[in-house]
Symmetry: C2
Subunit: 109 residues, 2 copies
């Protein structure tokens, strides 16, 4: 029904799914890539770099903020976005645990 049955999964599974959502759209991938490579924190020039309307970019930023992987500092009239190091590390660890769990030898022949 378009509604995920979150209650039948563990907290960790739901959290990892949420973290993955941060990367599950090319616009958000692009935003995160820009934020990782900029020395200074970019703000709304994200709108210029991406060929998307300002409202659309703002919505992706909102979703990334909900997940917690980015944070915005208000520097009127601008808002400076940057990656949240704690959550970034959390994602790194969560995915790292998955990578570790698999070794090709256990796969079917």
């Amino acid at each position: 029904m378009g509604v995920t049955k979150t209650e039948i999964f563990t907290t960790d599974q739901n959290r990892l799914a949420d973290l993955a959502k941060a990367f599950a759209h090319p616009a958000r991938v692009a935003i995160l890539q820009i934020l990782t490579t900029r020395k200074t924190c970019v703000c709304g020039d994200l709108v210029e770099e991406l060929s998307l309307a300002q409202a659309t970019v703002s919505q992706h930023l909102k979703e990334l903020k909900r997940i917690g992987i980015i944070q915005g500092e208000i520097d009127p009239p601008r808002v400076c976005y940057c990656i949240n190091p704690e959550v970034w590390a959390e994602a790194q660890t969560a995915f790292g645990d998955l990578w570790k769990a698999f070794s090709p030898a256990t796969c079917c022949p």
Copy 2:
């Protein structure tokens, strides 16, 4: 409009977004976790482990197959699923590149 403008992003960005989709739903996370930890390849007992209808599990498996991260071997009347090591490694590398690109020092104060 619910339709992603894939054409304005790079192939790599679209691919990473697709790989992330494999992990962007707790049911798929659970499936992948089961596949990584099982010594032998599990088949449809995924349906029993997850509290989801068989049709729903089948659809998640279909999506994972579309992305390429799992593969199914037909062993009538069963189908044996396992992780595709190449795509698993691809995902590992793609995310690894992202992790590398960020160092906390570049973030806003």
